[in-house]
């Protein structure tokens, strides 16, 4: 059984030195200024600041900047095949690189969905020439995402599928999910679950609560998510399977995951920056570009529970659920608009601005959770320890910028942060040992 494989385009390996950069890698236990010497795409040495004697390397004056292990997003929508007017592998991975990511996992709810080995092979082929960061592909759990028959999970794994997900839709039938969990023993591959009871969600377009009552919009109750998490955690526990719960949004969901973890279920989960930073109060603006997504923005109590879950480790990682949409799908009344917002380019800056600077979460914790999304899918996580492949997010934590003022790397502009002023900016990203992104205005000071 071959493990799932991530792909990116081949290119020139980075040979450079990040001079006097503050290195912060909580997992490797590094938090100090260093000269980071990168040769042939690997971290050759962490030298005392100013001491590395490497005249043959490109010098980057990084004094005052931070180097983090580059981020990993286990939940993005690259929209290919079929919806390239929203995004594709090239634009989506460029967007990831601009956000400090070295790897992403693309969801399978494309048009048609990624359900056959040939689909996965074609996408990997495409990523080998188009992707600026490592891209892995999930395949659907059920054929065509119809929720009825399983896909050929073992063949899909052989073709390189990293895991399985019907994201966008729940696996409605408990029996079908049970069969998938049984089959997982044969082929491996984490099953990522979009947890939602379609009947309870009904025609809902936002969180059910005082704001939906005021706006006259159909609500999606929190229990639509948490009841399905409880069901699927019970199934995973019974079958000894391995599941990853996507985009937690509600306090009841955090509790359900916490109970499952305590009971020994192999379950991991993620939360998105927009759910960690915003509440349903934003929907009063009726702006679908920034505030319509599924699961919906919920109450302040829910947001606080997500923050607490991220802090105590109930929530394993941050995932953006980057969901690009074309303008005409959003320039309509709220109820008719497509669900989803983009988030790759702003994830770190938003969490830094909204949670780190006000003192809610430690910088180190946010950095750790931003790259922790690799682990549930058995992908090696980025590290700044010497000898590691160069996967680095170089950030200026004091830079202030307005989201969208210089456009987006993504093909779509439905960013939940559009127009926001953020503090903290990714100025350079190294992914897979290559320079994947440089901020255009980031001058490369040559140290004397």
């Amino acid at each position: 059984m071959s493990p799932g494989q991530l792909e990116m385009r081949s290119g020139e390996s980075a040979d450079l030195v990040l001079r006097r950069v503050t290195v912060l890698d909580p997992v490797a236990g590094i938090d100090a200024p260093h000269d980071v010497v990168i040769r042939k795409g690997s971290i050759a040495e962490l030298a005392p600041p100013g001491s590395a004697d490497v005249p043959d390397l490109e010098e980057i004056d990084a004094a005052g900047l931070h180097a983090f292990p580059a981020f990993f997003d286990p939940h993005v929508h690259l929209r290919t095949p079929g919806q390239e007017h929203k995004e594709d592998i090239e634009t989506g991975s460029r967007s990831a690189a601009a956000g400090g990511y070295c790897g992403v996992l693309a969801m399978a709810n494309t048009d048609p969905p990624v359900s056959t080995p040939a689909d996965v092979e074609a996408l990997r082929e495409d990523a080998r020439t188009a992707a600026s960061v490592r891209v892995g592909f999930l395949a659907t759990v059920t054929a065509g995402m119809r929720g009825e028959e399983l896909t050929e999970m073992a063949s899909l794994r052989d073709a390189g599928a990293v895991g399985f997900s019907d994201d966008g839709l729940p696996v409605r039938s408990a029996l079908v999910l049970r069969r998938a969990l049984q089959y997982q023993r044969l082929c491996g591959g984490t099953i990522a679950l979009h947890e939602e009871d379609p009947e309870l969600s009904g025609s809902g377009v936002m969180h059910e609560g005082a704001v939906s009552a005021t706006l006259g919009l159909d609500g999606i109750p929190s229990v639509s998510e948490s009841t399905m998490i409880a069901r699927d955690a019970a199934l995973a526990g019974y079958e000894g399977g391995n599941i990853h719960v996507q985009h937690l949004s509600a306090v009841e969901s955090v509790e359900a995951v916490s109970r499952a973890k305590a009971a020994g279920v192999q379950i991991s989960c993620e939360a998105s920056p927009h759910h960690l930073c915003l509440t349903d109060e934003e929907v009063r603006s009726l702006d679908p570009h920034r505030f319509k997504m599924n699961p919906p923005l919920r109450s302040e109590a829910d947001r606080q529970a997500l923050i607490e879950g991220l802090r105590d480790g109930t929530i394993d990682c941050v995932a953006t659920d980057h969901a690009p949409h074309a303008p005409e799908e959003k320039e309509v009344p709220f109820e008719q608009a497509a669900m989803g917002v983009t988030g790759l380019e702003t994830a770190f800056a938003a969490l830094h601005t909204e949670l780190v600077l006000p003192g809610v979460l430690d910088l180190g914790l946010v950095v750790e959770r931003m790259s922790a999304g690799a682990a549930p899918f058995e992908v090696e996580r980025s590290s700044l320890a010497p000898g590691s492949e160069a996967n680095i997010a170089l950030c200026d934590l004091s830079a202030e910028w307005t989201v969208g003022e210089n456009g987006y790397e993504s093909r779509s502009s439905n960013s939940w942060c559009g127009g926001r002023k953020l503090t903290g900016q990714v100025v350079m990203t190294l992914a897979g040992g290559q320079v994947a992104f440089r901020l255009r205005s980031f001058s490369l000071g040559v140290a004397a």
Binding site: A210, A213, G216, L217, G219, P333, F334, E335
Partner: protein, 320 residues
Amino acid sequence: MKHLLSIEQLSKAEIEAILDRAESFSEVGRRDIKKVPTLRGRTIVTLFYESSTRTSSSFELAAKRLSADLVSVKAAGSSVDKGESLKDTVATLSAYEPAAIVIRHPHAGAAQLVAQWVDAAVVNAGDGKHEHPSQALLDVYTLRRQLDSLEGKKIWIVGDVLHSRVARSNLIAFRAMGAELTVCGPPALIPRGLEELGCEVEYSLDRLGEADVVYALRLQRERMKESFIPSIREYAAHFQIDSRRLGRRQLLMHPGPVNRGVELSGEVIDSPQSLIAEQVASGLVVRMAILYELLAASDDESAPAAGDDTKRPTAIGQPA
């Protein structure tokens, strides 16, 4: 006031100003020539994506009585049927340089979106289950004529609150005028969290006797198919306003159209306590007042003290 998108945007004083204006227009309706030249030469577009009798006809007649040129567009039979987006339809109609666009749409926030796209004043004539501000204004107007003031009056809103934009706008408007609100209906038809709009929630009519005004809402017969209620009969048994439940001193209102024998019994509709016909009559003058406030009242403020006749407001009641 540039647009009328929600009742929430209006203060008590602004609501009263519109209603005072409506009082002055009620005199026009008693004349032989029921018309004033206020909006002569200006264009008003009504754009209705949902069926409507009262709202569309009263806005249209209001525009005509103010001497505006009127373009009425109904979605059925228009280019909307051919898949034209709201944005493109509005752009097309904007080519006529309308002074105002009156829009009804099945989805919340449609009027607000249109307001972002056009220079015209936009009037929300109902957006999804969100708001229906002109209905709320005409209901306050109707009640004010009966009760002088709504301050401290107890108003019960009874029925399918969940699907009612009228309930939402009226809750806000009645509350702004000082009334005490109770909503009552089957639990599945009362939205969760509604209390935060500042009202009491009751699931039975037992205390209906406390109400000064009973405002019944339309119950769509399809609701039982979605299991909001078990049956129309069960609904009527518990929530129908009939002569047994309606006290002699209580006033009865309904936004129409009524499902006779469902939310209201026939005899209360035709009783002297019923203000349903007055509500319709109020609709015309209140909608004249809304159009006046949006299109002519701002000229009052910007107009020079004397001289420039083109900018001077036309005195109310001056026949054309």
